[in-house]
Symmetry: C2
Subunit: 595 residues, 2 copies
Amino acid sequence: MASPVLPSSGVLSPLGLDAVRPAPGFWGDRVRLNREVIIAHCREWMEKEGWIGNFRGDLPRRGREFSDSEVYKLLEAMAWADHPDLPELAATVAAAQEQDGYLNTRWPAARYTDFEWGHELYCYGHLIQAGVARLRRHGEDELTAVVRRAADHVCRRFMDTRETCGHPEIEMALVELYRATGAERYLEMARRLVERRGLPALADVPFGRAYFQDDLPVRRATVLRGHAVRALYLACGAVDVAVETGDGDLLAAVRAQWERTVAARTHLTGGMGSRHSDESFGDDFELPPDRAYAETCASIASIMLSHRLLLATGEARYADLAERTMYNLLATATALDGRSFFYANPLQVRVPAEPLTGVNHAAEGGLRSPWFDVSCCPSNLARTLASLPAYLATGDSRGIQIHHFTPGEIACGSLRVRVETGYPWSGTVVVRVLEPGEGRISLRVPSWARGATMSHGLDVHPGYATTEGRWRPGDEIRLELPMVPRWTFPDPRVDALRGTAAVERGPLVYCAEALGDDPPLARVGVPVAPVVEHEVDGVVELEVQARVRATAPGGWPYTAVQARDDGEDVALRLVPYHRWGNRGPATMRVWLPRA
Amino acid sequence: MASPVLPSSGVLSPLGLDAVRPAPGFWGDRVRLNREVIIAHCREWMEKEGWIGNFRGDLPRRGREFSDSEVYKLLEAMAWADHPDLPELAATVAAAQEQDGYLNTRWPAARYTDFEWGHELYCYGHLIQAGVARLRRHGEDELTAVVRRAADHVCRRFMDTRETCGHPEIEMALVELYRATGAERYLEMARRLVERRGLPALADVPFGRAYFQDDLPVRRATVLRGHAVRALYLACGAVDVAVETGDGDLLAAVRAQWERTVAARTHLTGGMGSRHSDESFGDDFELPPDRAYAETCASIASIMLSHRLLLATGEARYADLAERTMYNLLATATALDGRSFFYANPLQVRVPAEPLTGVNHAAEGGLRSPWFDVSCCPSNLARTLASLPAYLATGDSRGIQIHHFTPGEIACGSLRVRVETGYPWSGTVVVRVLEPGEGRISLRVPSWARGATMSHGLDVHPGYATTEGRWRPGDEIRLELPMVPRWTFPDPRVDALRGTAAVERGPLVYCAEALGDDPPLARVGVPVAPVVEHEVDGVVELEVQARVRATAPGGWPYTAVQARDDGEDVALRLVPYHRWGNRGPATMRVWLPRA
């Protein structure tokens, strides 16, 4: 089945890319944009920057120590998309593999001399995921042969050592390769890599061992910490190992980590990671909107983790976080034209960024860039969007569960349905039966959707709303989610958000965006008052009352007198956060100071 | 005269270390602690870490590319303190100098191949400042000969190029060497280095050229930006060049930069720099208390800049900022025992740091450390405390200006006075005339000191209070500064401080410090109510009413319901910020959420 995650047990089972087929709509449009634009964009830049050329080996090597992994993520995207260029690119990669399976363009002369920063196992991880995608979507070929040789090399070289890689990733890849091939050594290798981490297995670094989750064993940790992408990838691998080995303690440990991380280390957008210096989570409740790092790759990793926990437990809260992250980060990170990307995704931008057409050397979040020195995000978006349909719905022995609503068709067992919806703009979701069938159809009712109703006005509650029966073509289930703009207030322990409120509508977080400092967002304050909706070219924009404070006098900014709240009343437009930054340099804020 | 800054013109003139002699008291104690403990501590660690050994050259080089500069700052401290070990250390350094004057232990085989990161001119800058200190405190010797050779080498090598160093510092050093020797080539070299910066003179780097102030010429900049220490050192050099060349435009440019930086990029403590990733200022009003970087070296550089602007203009606001920074950063950065130091100086710490006895690899601000990988701060403190008396008072043709109040004696012309005060605990400052004399005696009235009186109850206003006359031994001037705790509120544009207030008393910023989470500072809220004073072992502590909110329920931290403010009322102790962290791991906050 063509799905990036296929656990052998769990409450829910994935449906693959053949079973979930999005039509034009919020996600279907993005899946198509990926196939038609983003994949080619990534390939062009990797050629231009020499990262593909590194495998040819005829020019001096270019790019960072992990640039091979970008090519592998592109291969994974191509595999899911059944892209015709894959064989050629796979052949380029294959040519660089050594006799014993070793494959890395950076370290051929000094293999495994720098586990902390070398990224060799990390790169294998992405290679293996590409191979799994190819196996499931197409079958054995040159790429899968390369992958098997590399994975076998890893097992031979690392099965009985105490070493691991500074950047987790290979753990979940090896479990998936086990799932795809049945070869138990891959699972055992993954298990050992998960278990040996934190003993510790790596040298100390200036950022501290927590940076790469080597400060304590996974099963003893109580929260995700350190580098956010590393932490989340490791957690994915730990869930996969736990599920395949029936290790309930390990699964419980990761679930507890997820819980505290969501309660204290996650931005409203679902973004994770607060510190730029080491790309780390930071402390509990350290969630600055302006310096939110919220790396695109961390949001992808978070969706991967929540999806795994959803499959394992069937609990709606995992799908809730995935939805939040999909609509407010996955959708935000890519420009509407698919040709530029955010690396960091802050919730406030004070100074409009200057447009950039070349490689972005920084990872600041004020503008989308076509490419980065560390360009992990674009190719990660490409492989995620290519496999996204597999995240939208699942099945079990009794029927279909639809977690994320987008137009398209879903098939599972004897059930075949079409989803018709304008979600997230409209809250009406119609599931229409296409063929005679039998079983349960479950629709997720998001946690924000209090007052939702199903079919004949039946009240339904957050979680899953289920209808069971024998179905005939034309039967329909109608879910009505209340799409009412709502004010959201932060936990008072989030110091950086004190005295502010945000507006959400359905799964979407909204923000104020100002081009040319109009209005001046540094001086805006809002009352918590009714919100007005406007439809603009199919997009729902919102409007709130606001007051623009007169300019402060300047001088020393800490005074014995409290600033007054007087100023001019204005109407403040709010746009969906995922659409900000598409109209040129702008200031932006999600959290609005309260007047 | 033994002063680190001796402009040939300006409104005020420095008084040297012979003229200003602190007695036991707030600053006198710290000057003595430096002489007796800190200088030796720095020397021990530099020996242990091999940074002094690098000059001997018999072992593989150790330390970062700028470690030579630490030895030079130690030499400067020793020079001001007339330390007996100086000649021996100077001889060690001298042995490493090459024939043509080049001196650097890192790059002898590849000199001047990396201007962006090589730090060669930066190191010369500190070497030259050590030499100036030696010249002024002692006279010519082996160290000053080394310095002249190095400075002449720099002039020969760089006078007619367009190159400069990634880290400013040499500019002000060369001007001071000119002032100490009269050799105009040093001034001209400094002038050219200031002018060529930003043309640009350096290659671009991932942080961008603003990181090392090469984005635009000094005279065109409107604010300090990029790496805070670099920006402030460059501004010092620009002021020095402006003063010596009579360049009013350049001076005005730096004054305008200072003004906007103080209005929008300075923490309540006087600390500068908000970002950890590139040690930079960040945007206007980006002033997070928890992630304040506020590097100790930046505070020293800020004091150096304000002192220069004070000398040039005589305006009290520069002394005001210097005082704020001295009491709340210079005094904070060193532990009471003089054996550990802060690198970063945040205004909020949520998680108690674990104690550390060895080298600190990070620059986080939760605990003081005996040494750092990048250990610029301890030696910078050593040289600054060794020369601190020269910052306390100045003279002009008509008398003495006392800017900072600490017990001790001051002599200028025919005036010789003793200052008696318990400042900053007490607001009473008595200036007692010791010998017959004539002239003006001016005392600074800090900007916070509204309601101050002088001698016979005369009202005085922020700025300088001046008395003129013929003086007889025993005559006294008495300044009464109102030492009343006061609430301070942030400019609403400082998003990270919304809904909070801080307490100050005199020049001191106060903070709540909790050992063992008692009280839990994450859940404290305060009304703006009267503050109670307590004297504890000669230190004034404060007490405010507070309410400890009941623990929040956990789960997703952004909700439709606003948190209630109910909880238990407690008395919250506040300690001077400069004393926090001396009693073991603790949480801390300067800005208190308002109940």
